[in-house]
Amino acid sequence: MRAGRSLRRGARGVETLRAMLGRLSGVIGLTLVALHLALALISPWIVPYEYTSMDSAQTLAGPSAAHWLGTDHLGRDVLTRVLLGGREALLVTGTATPVALVWGGGLGVYLGLKGGWRDEVAMRLVDAVLALPGILPLLVLITVFGTGGEVLMPTLAFFFGIPVIRVARAAAHEVVARDFISAARARGHSPLSIVRRELLPNVTDTLLVEGAMRWSWMLLAFSALSFLGFGVSPPKPDWGLMVSDARIYMSLAPWGVIAPVIALSTLIIGINLTADALAKTLGLDHSRKAVI
């Protein structure tokens, strides 16, 4: 029995992590994500070549002892560029995701609590933005403000915060109807203290899972933008950009496309599996609720 053991804030995190590692999806997901993060951190020190160094004698070469994953059309080492290619994406999306969660989550909780015409107007605006194809508004903003990480980060944070509003609002709505909120109101607590003490702790789980999902979508969007030439500018290495550059030579040197695709997809699959394990561990996945 777990009863009697006190669960402090940090202890709950450790407990959750341990429970996630008890699931296959959690083990695979967390391993993949940890691997990618570790590589992104240490890759500048372990890559075999400079990412700009070109070997003009060997362009579009196949895998060899010198170039494990071959070279691209300029004779640059593919392995080096794949190892470094996730850094920018992880940095931008890794900052944009928490920002999106905080602003979208905060606004969503506020609307869920407040209701009324503000809620009505804001949710119709959210509907309107979500009705547009995802990449279109991103492209518009990039055309106006230019490319580069310092523009992409706030842009992604803004657009990916919008669906978070809806999720946070729904979660808050459910909690607001419960009696412990009425009890706090009847005692005379201030609205701010009700949000902080009663409401937020009950929506953070939902927001965490939502955050993990948003992160994977954001990575995909970032790579798509790079592929289209709006993200990372050459010669910096990036997976989306690499695929874009290498795809014309795909029949000659398939590794130039396959390697960054594998890198990107393992990271996204890893994040999705982690989110899945997190949702199941926190009891948010109701599809297979046990009776006991």
């Binding site: 009696d179 412990f180 009425s182 005379g188 609720k289």
Partner: protein, 675 residues
Amino acid sequence: MAGAAPLIDIRKLCVGFRGRAGAMLPVLHEVDLTVHPGESIGIVGESGSGKSTLALAAMGYLKHGLQKMSGEVIYDGADMFERSDRDLSRIRGGQLGLIPQNSGQALTPTMRIGRQIREALHLHCDLPEAEYSRRAQELLAQVRLPDPGVMLRRYPHELSGGQQQRVAVAMALAGEPDALLLDEPTTGLDVTTQAHILDLLRDLAASRNMAMVYVSHDLGVIARVCDRVQVLYAGETVLDGPVRAVLRNPAHPYAHGLLASIPRLGEATLPRALDGRPPGPAEARQGCAFAPRCPLATGDCRAARPPMIDGPEEQITRCLYPDHVAGLEADTKRTEPQPCPPDSPEALSLFGVSIRYDQRGPIDRLRRAPRPPATVDGIDLQLARGETLGLVGESGSGKSTILKSIAGLLPPSAGAITLGDGTPLPRSVERRRPDQLRRIQMIFQNPDDSLNPRQSVAEILAQPLRLYFGLKDDALRDRAAGLLEVVRLGADYLDRRPGQLSGGERQRVAVARAFAAGPEIVLCDEITSALDVSVQAAVLDLLNDLKAEHGTGFVFVSHDLTVVRALSDRIAVLYQGRICEIGPAGAVYGTPSHPYTAVLLGAVLTPDPDHAPRLMAEDAAELSPPARGCPFQNRCPVKRGPICDTETPPLRDAGDGHGIRCHIELDDLRRIARR
């Protein structure tokens, strides 16, 4: 009936689920159940005893996550768990009908009643196409629904809870079943509706020679409809016998304790609580599962699990000392409730309070659309310090609405609420001053919902202590521990979360939180209706002690007339948001009484097989109060005439603060009661 072959024969059934550690944890432990044709059997137990699991297992069905470990369920010569899916779908809903606990949710909301019944008929009988509608109408008539033809075209949400339950019965009857399994068939229904439904079920069982298996936590229901009863405790059968013997002279101490924990209508005494709680499926057991709570337990009980042995009056009991149970009577005397000290000063007054839920938009105002009558109207109530005022009535009577209004959560549209010193209380909670807020505290119906699952007990209790007294750190923790002591929980509960407590413990924490403020008035909204009877008794006992120690006034709302009786000094009976009768508890439950009070009291069930409820009025549900006249005009069994439809009845003074709002003279009301 013992000689006939049984219809359903469950032998040594063990059902369990796989725990976190990987071992199988039993929910049912070697349970036997035999049902003979035409027999009515009750399965009784508290939540978690496995009673619903047992009833569903009789249909060869287990909830997700549960597995059969051993034993067999024989129906019609074969084990239900060995049958093919085809076989099972023919039997389920056909020969074996199930009435689920909440039939409102079991009906498809987007399909008319007629079509749902016709579907059930299509599955289980072969009729010419044109006959189905006629047969559906016939079934609705059999369950005594008014206007069956009209009813066929209704959607489930257009029916009241009682009517939905009748439709569920009609659908189960479509397959001409040999046996009906009823899972808490009347839980959540009003007393009058409950009495009508049980009457219907009794008559159906008798006229069709149908076997009935009732699952219920309510011994009053069992007493009314069953021939034989089986008592489950922690997944084991502890007692099996004729209903009369089990209710009058139980041969097991658990059944005895359960009976003692039920509040009775006729006595103004507090029921006795059973201490402790049943072992969970994961807890290791040795010996009798009830031994830790049993006053008769000896070393033998703890050493080995007692076998089922023959007890007095044809009972079979899992107790080594069935003959000693009767002797328990002497030590289980019920305590008298603490009376309110006479001439105690006033704590709270309501003057002409009315509350509306409807909102008139600008268009309604332009159209001069007539305003519907207020949901709650003309409420005058006084509460003295240390007094308990009970508010009773059926669902929709506005009793919880009045509480929310006192708490400031639902501002009244007219009238005034004043505290004892005569200062008027601002209508909404946002405008009230901290000392006004502190003096009124509320306890909610369901502690699962009123305690934040993310806070520890210490944090929960800290909220009012910080807010009203500005306590911090050690002082805060000491006070919180002191409060737990008041509700008889140890200081080790401080670091637990609500999820780690039982239902009764959670409600105690909610009580402690209310008392943290040092309130003068505590509003209790159905605070025991989500609890098991034995736990309910403990909570009532606690409130009674707190009332005496702290001189707190309680407004106690409940749909259960016996619970209100056990605790209240004065009682107000509400119908459609209007007070019908108010006065000292003994006087209100005695004569003369308002016709509505008489109807309510007549329908109350008691765990006594010889007591039959008196059904005086239709159980038709009314959605809104009538615009004029007496609120009870449409259902009143002794209506005087047109005056009841047009004039608001006068408040007749029956002495000693007992008032009845009725057009009938008090003497005539007395005479009617005697009939």
